[in-house]
Structures are given as C-alpha cells and as structure tokens.
Amino acid sequence: MDNSAMDIDVLRIVCSVVLVAAFVFANATVMGYLERKLAGRFQRRLGPMEVGWHGILQMPVDGIKLLAKRMVVPQQAEGLVFRLAPVISLSPVLLPLIAIPFSPALQVVDMPAGLIFVLAIEAFGTIGVFLAGWSANNKYAMIGAMRSVAQNIAYEIPILLVALAVALKAGSFSLAEIVLSQAALWFVALQPFGFLIYLVAGLSECNRAPFDLPEAESELTAGYLTEYSGIGFSLFMIAEYTHMFTICCLATVLFLGGWHGPALPWPAYSSAIWFFMKAYGLMFVMVWVRWTFPRVRYDQLMKFAWKYLIPFALVNLLITALVVCI
C-alpha cells in the first residue's frame, strides 16, 4: 500500500470513529428526549416542558448535571471493576455501528461476516451489566446481574437463529449484501415470524420493558444500576439507548430492506434517510411497548424463550433452509 492510500485510510478511520462516537451521544440525547415526550403522550401529560422550547434542551442539561455530579463508589464495592463496568457495557454496543450499512456509501467497513461480527460483539454487553451488578456488592444489584446473564443467554439464541435464516435467504453474511438482496422484496414479507421473534428477543436483549428484569425497579429498586450515580449512570443510559439503536438497525438491515425506499437524489448518501426512518420507527414501537405493558416474571421470561421462541425460530430456520434448497 502506498503512502497516500494509507493516509486516506487513516483519515477514514479517524472520521468514522469521531462520527460514530458523536452519533452515539446524539442518539442518546434525541432518544432520551423522545422517550420522555412519548411517555408523556401515552400518559396524558406533557413530558419535559421547561428547559428550552418544549423541553428540547432537557437531555443535554441532564447530561451536564450527571457529568458534574460525583460518581459515588460504595465502600464495599470492587472499585476498579465498578468504575470499568460502564465502559465495558458501552463499548460492545458502540462497535457494531461500524459494520452497519446506513446507505450504500455510509458504512465504515463491509465485513464478509458482518452479521456474525455484530451479533458476537453485542453479546458482550451482558458482561458489562454483570460486572456492574457483581462489583457493586449490593444484593439487589447482584440479583439484577444474575437475571441479566440468564436472560441474555436465553434470548441470544433466537436472535441468532432468525438472523441465520435471513443469511440463508440472502446467501451472505455481509450486511451490505443482505440489504442488496432485498431490493425487490423486504425479508419481513418472507420471514414475518422471524421478524416478530427478532423484535421480542431484541426487546429482551436490550433489557427494555416488559423484559427489563435486570433493572426491575419495583422489585430490585434499580437492579444492577442501584449503586451507580453521575457519569457511571449516564454511560449505562447511553449504552441502553445505543443498544436499542443497534438492535433496531440490525432489524432494519435484516428485515426492513435497509436503505431501500423511494428514489432520492444522490442515493449513495441520501438513502440513509430511509434507513433512519425505519430504525427510529422500530424504536418508537419499543417505547410504546415499554409504556403499555407490565413486567413479565423471571420464570415466565425464561419459559417464553426456551419453550416458544427457540423452537419457533428453529422451525423458521428449517423451513427457510428447505425453501432455499428447493
């Protein structure tokens, strides 16, 4: 590789990293605001109204407040692990963004096994949650951590199985290829059950209500977050919203035809609009579900995964394989 090509590569990497990091914080801000506004709508109230026009500055202000607060590390906690856990929890949900094709040109790297990469990295998020719960040395936090691990093991499998069915259909593990193969027909039409299974398992993956058992504030006060404050807490919040976003991005790539949509000028970049609309539409559904349903019980959650989701996902995979064979 000659010098100029390497310069461009380095520039590209730096730009991507900066953009991804900036986007993650922007997404958390926007999603946090939207969630609070939408929750207000669902609950017949206004949501944030005071800071800025219709409370639009509420989240940045909250963020600054959390940054300015001291992060209290309890005496009995494992200090190092306790401080590291938010970072460990944020990075795995951040990394998959480099493999997501937002539009034909807006993709940091198109890996041949992008799908596997994204799913594998995302599964690491649990480790952060587990370390947080474990190191806090608080019983509520520990129960939350245990729940989180069991839940993620159970719900990782159906996600993998339905993603595998899509990969079979597309004939590739590359996310860009998967999107390209949906030019004529989105996979949601061919894999409706797969899509539903993915959505349910995805909700559980990012610990959102009604599967927010690791947090379960009416049972465990705040679960693994119990002892966190200040920047540690806000990093977990950012991780949660980013996780939601990556889950929805993957759903868009796998089932909703990625960037495909009515033609726009400069499609190489502008078609990302369709991608974001689909992803944020799914996130709206997630918010809607959260503010409507009570929380399921721990054993019901497990039963649901192992007795229904995984068998159905397996059957889905089997049928897809047969269809592809024929």
């Binding site: 209500a209 009416s218 349903f293």
Partner: protein, 371 residues
C-alpha cells in the same frame, strides 16, 4: 421448587426489603430469607411510621380526635372519621339529621373510590406498568376535587364530626358529583383495555398469592382481601350503619382469592360505590347537616365501640369513658394489620416478583398499621 434444596444456609441470602423500597408503600420493612430468586421466609418489621394516635386521644378532649382520624389511613380517611362519629353519637345518644347521613355516605364512598383508584395505579406500578397510575390519578383527581369542595381538604378531610358533618353541599356540587359518576362509568372500558385484558397483567396475577377463605379468616383478613376469597363480609350489609341499610348495592365477591380476584373485586366495588352515591343524590333530603351538640362533651362512663367498612376492610373504634371530657382509652382496630399478617403465610416458596405482586394486592397503608 424443592425447598429441601435450599436447606443449606450456605445458599441462602438475607435480604432487607425496605423500609426504603419503591414497592413497600410507606415504611414497611421485610426481612426476606432468599434462595436465589425464591423467598423462603419473611419477617415483617413494623413501627417506622408510629405517630401515637391512640395516646394522643387520651390527652385531648373527645372532639379533638376528629383531626387525627383522617390521618390514620391517609388514603381513605373519611370512614375513620365516620367510625369515631358513630361511636360518639352512640355514647351521647345524638340523633343525626338525615341530610348529614346522606352526605357522610356520599363523601365516604367518594373517598373509597379515590382510594381504590390509587391502589389500582400503585399495584400496576408494582407489576412494572408505569402508565395506568397516571390514568388512575386523572380519575382520582376528579374525586379529590369534589372532596376538596365538600370538605375543604384534599387528603386529610376534616369532614366528620359528632352529630353530622362540618359542611353542606350546594346544587353545583351535586352536579359535579353526577358528572364524575358519568365520567367514571365511561372510564371502565379504558381500564378494561389497558389493564384487565392485558395478557401480561393476567399472567402476573392469576393464581398468584391465593388466599383460601379459611386462611383469610384465621388471620383476620377483612375488606376486599377477604371478599376476593369469596366470603361475603361487608359491614355495610352485615351490620348496616349510618343509613347504609337503605341503599341497594351488591357486595362483589371473588372466586379463587388470587391477586387477579382482588383486582376485580376492587374494580367492581368502584362501580358499586358509584351506584350508592347516585342513590344518595337522588333522594338527598333537606334540612340541617349537624345536630346541636355541646362544645364540650363527656360521655357517661362505660365502653363504646363502632365499626365501619373502610376501603381496606373493617375499621373498629373502641373507647372507654370515665365520664370526663377526655377519653380514658381509645383503641383502633384497622384492616391492614390482619391483611399484612397473611403475607408470611402466602410467600413461602414464591418468586420475589410474586411477593411484590402479592404485597401490592393487599392494599396496605403501612402508617395505618403503625398508627
């Protein structure tokens, strides 16, 4: 789960639930013996909200205790005032005007509705649903507004007094109450869709925390908790007081005594309360709202007692007079203590989440136990 697997103390965990915990509704402290997510045993620790109400009564004139009555059970205070008023009226042989009887029933039932709505919201919050409580508070707000108009206060209503009530209502208030009844009836379909037919809600409550009629009797459970087990025990019909005998209403009963039944019974009770209020307004008699009662009262020496049906169950006041202007002794028996003592019996081998659901379904106001 096999409890035997958890016999070894090595695997057990001691967990303090409360007194600061989102789901203990006040300051209840539960000491749990856990095996993973399962609750093996439970010990309730009370007394964090002790306010010496009974002792206060022994230091003040008889009438002064009316100020305490709504503060004992702050979610449904009027029945407490009603009960104490009945006690004094029995002791002093006071004839209460008809209009006052009706107003007492109207305000008590409005208070019951407000209390049940608060419970529905808090219960759903315990189950992890955030939205219903705001709908409940929206409705409760209407009831509380009317009560504020009637009694002058939004929570601790100083309304009941010996010989009647402290204030009359005008035609405008009657219209407001009627509007509330109409509105509330139209709201049941919302709760039906949001809560009653919610599949996760049913999953979380059906068959959870089953109280058999025998168990309920053994622990002295009263109110909706007892009626959800199928025991038709409501003081308003069993031993009608304050004119309740003249109203027609059903006593909603449950079949299996689980959390879902307790929810259903309370929702049905809201409907019945609306019917009672409507009947009371339809035949609201005229006349004074308070009998002439001397400022200083001294019941003849003896023991007096009275019982009413509060939102949580039986409220019983028992007083001893030595003929002076100050009670010699006042003893209050309220519902929550009996209902709470069921919990250790119910929770053995239960999941933590079910414990919270069961605790919520009992509708406890902890300071009412501590007093």
């Amino acid at each position: 789960m096999t409890i035997s697997a958890a016999e070894s103390p090595h695997y057990r965990m001691h967990l303090n639930l409360g007194p600061q915990h989102p789901s203990t509704h006040g300051v209840l402290h539960l000491e749990l013996e856990m095996y993973g997510e399962y609750v093996l045993g439970i010990e309730t620790v009370l007394g964090y909200g002790h306010r010496m109400h009974e002792k206060t009564a022994e230091r003040r004139p008889w009438q002064a205790f009316f100020a305490n009555t709504p503060r004992i059970d702050y979610a449904c205070g009027l029945p407490h005032g009603h009960c104490y008023a009945l006690l004094l009226e029995e002791a002093l042989q006071i004839e209460v005007p008809e209009r006052a009887l009706s107003l007492r029933i109207v305000s008590s039932e409005l208070n019951r509705i407000a209390s049940h709505l608060l419970w529905v919201g808090a219960f759903l919050l315990d189950l992890g649903a955030f939205t219903p409580i705001l709908y409940c508070f929206d409705d409760r707000e209407q009831a509380v507004d009317i009560l504020e108009h009637m009694t002058g206060s939004r929570l601790t209503h100083p309304y009941m007094c010996a010989g009647g009530v402290t204030g009359d209502i005008d035609e405008e208030t009657v219209l407001k109450i009627r509007a509330f009844i109409r509105r509330m009836r139209s709201r049941f379909s919302i709760y039906e869709r949001l809560v009653t037919n919610n599949v996760i809600f049913v999953m979380r409550t059906r068959g959870i925390g089953v109280i058999t009629p025998e168990l309920a009797r053994a622990y002295g459970a009263t109110g909706p908790v007892l009626r959800a087990s199928g025991v038709a025990c409501d003081i308003r019909t069993v031993a009608p007081y304050g004119g309740y005998g003249r109203y027609t209403f059903d006593v909603p009963l449950g079949a299996s005594g689980d959390c879902l039944d307790r929810y259903r019974v309370r929702m049905a009770e809201i409907r019945q309360s609306l019917a009672i209020i409507e009947q009371a307004l339809d035949r609201l008699p005229g006349g004074p709202v308070r009998a002439a009662v001397p400022r200083k009262i001294a019941p003849p020496p003896g023991e007096y007692s009275s019982s009413v049906e509060g939102a949580r169950g039986h409220v019983t006041y028992w007083a001893v007079s030595d003929g002076s202007e100050i009670p010699y002794r006042l003893k209050i028996r309220s519902a929550c203590m009996g209902n709470l003592s069921l919990l250790p019996e119910l929770c053995r081998g239960m999941l933590l989440a079910d414990l919270i659901a069961t605790l919520g379904s009992l509708d406890l106001v902890i300071p009412e136990i501590d007093r």
